[in-house]
Symmetry: C2
Subunit: 326 residues, 2 copies
């Protein structure tokens, strides 16, 4: 079964989906849909059209799954329910606190239209969520630890750039090695926010801006920086562009606890990614495959990674998987 895929939005994630499709022979990119002028969007795949997003509204575009590559703040809350009424869809909605609301909206639209939708896919939420679930099942009495990084946090980089006097900035979230070791110890330590992560800032100042005053503003910024040990570095735009343009990320999910017999178990899952959007996209296309299959089986409504049997993610059949991967 070939799965015909449409990409809505051609930013870092949309480009990543295009790359990921190249590594999966059973997936076919049908079109990239954009809200921009389609003639202004150049994509990498030859022979594939860029079409106006408005074309999707007929519900007639020849795609099995639409992968919606918008932002969680404003795009996805509107787009995913809208397009789930017209197509099978996958999104990477990552505002954890608003997932129940988003799920309900998408589920209602998809159920009514007989479509299948997967929300909040990627690695967190996504693969990290799976490992939190597995960990809590297999070690029912224990503690969860999630560490992020070393990697670029878009949210924290944006927060730096909103400070008057800051021309540009990148922020790395870095797990504290001693905290990671403590979580791995099997002793279920309590770890504070400050103990778990440090934050490393690379800041380009506007002309005449006062570095001392800006450092003060950064380290005291509520929610974003005030509970962390923060390192602030001032560099030129050239240096920022040269040394901090990549989008690495990753992290660790641990579950640690005691069996009823008293012996400890520790489960650790980690990712080390040179490109956050390209790996995320690779996860999205596998779940798009799963959604196409579930839809073909008559399953409808909103799903999350928790609802997808792992075999649906693979291009191989059950017999192959049992013989080679079990």
């Amino acid at each position: 079964m070939t799965v015909k895929i449409g990409i809505l939005g051609y930013g870092n994630l949309g480009k990543g989906v295009e790359f990921a499709i190249q590594q999966n022979d059973d997936l076919e990119l049908v079109a990239v849909y954009t809200r921009r002028d389609p003639t202004s969007v150049k994509i990498a795949t030859e022979g594939v059209e860029v079409r106006p997003a408005a074309n999707l509204e007929t519900g007639d575009e020849p795609i099995d799954v639409l992968i919606i590559c918008g932002g969680s703040a404003t795009d996805l809350p509107e787009q995913t329910p809208k397009y789930a009424a017209l197509y099978n869809v996958v999104d990477s909605f990552d505002t954890h606190a608003r997932i129940p609301e988003h799920f309900a909206n998408v589920d209602a639209a998809a159920q009514q239209a007989g479509k299948t939708a997967l929300i909040s896919c990627g690695w967190d939420p996504g693969l990290f969520s799976l490992n939190r679930l597995f960990g809590n099942c297999f070690i029912p009495q224990g503690k969860d630890y999630t560490f992020w990084g070393k990697g670029i946090s878009q949210g924290h980089s944006d927060a730096l750039r909103r400070i008057p006097g800051v021309a540009d900035a990148k922020q790395y979230t870095i797990p504290v090695p001693e905290a990671l070791e403590a979580a791995r110890s099997g002793k279920n330590p309590e770890l504070t926010t400050r103990e778990k992560h440090t934050r490393e800032c690379w800041v380009v100042l506007e002309e005449g801006a006062d570095p001392a005053a800006i450092t003060e503003q950064i380290v005291n910024m509520p929610n974003y920086f005030d509970e962390y040990d923060v390192e602030v570095n001032f560099i030129s735009q050239e240096e920022l562009d040269r040394d901090h343009s990549a989008m690495p990320h990753g992290g660790f999910v641990l579950r640690s606890g005691q069996m009823a017999s008293g012996d400890s178990s520790v489960i650790e899952y980690s990712l080390k990614l040179e490109s956050n959007p390209n790996f995320t996209s690779s996860v999205l296309v596998c779940y798009a495959r799963a959604i196409a299959r579930l839809s073909a089986e008559g399953v409808t409504g909103a799903k999350t990674v928790f609802d997808i049997a792992p075999a649906y993610l693979s291009p191989f059949d059950g017999e192959y998987l049992r013989a080679h991967m079990l």
Copy 2:
């Protein structure tokens, strides 16, 4: 929904299942079934009966799932198909090469009887298999690495004990730290058998046995030891019992490769277990919960961990899982 569980076989794994049920309020141990004289088997749970395995043959025992805790060499190939014709069952069949044949036998029996059966559950096969599958999906062009240990290998310990002149023995499989680091590097190294693991033997000699001759036999034993760097230690039975009676285990599954864009991704999954059988049992009872639910939904036949949507493993409902773990 309370899931009523029967345990067949009361060795280390059966005892572990009994422990694991204590940590899951929705699971109830109904009875332990044994081929031994039931009066000779003392179990830990008050008020629960030990019954003859023969009682199971009526198909009328009041259980939702039978967890079959026998050995893979001779018990499970016979027991799992037999009991899958009478009850929903879960086993931990771990002879990788014979999984396709075992699956077919169990599937035929379960399909005919309208029962649901999960085979090859635990951590390898089981959780490690899931991570091999996930890794191959999300990093389609890459390499797999599985490391086991540090932990007791029953198969290798048994092989030592079969040598004439050996009174008792334990064997630890130990990952080589440098190989683990190489696998983590994202450079997809080729690693030989010898480079990946070392084998540490603790041997009690019979009176008059020649340690040099036995060391020679061990290090040259085909398949088990000849391809590894092996350390042989001779100790007394008292020392073996005092220092090597625990059953720790664990290991690492890595998948490393390049996205179409050329950037590397590394996924690592690891377990560190003070008790191999007790953690394995904790996994088994979660899959027993899933099998009971699938059976209630009318799903029949043989399944593996690849076929089970993660949400089925948890005592919590979808709404709770989305709000707390996604």
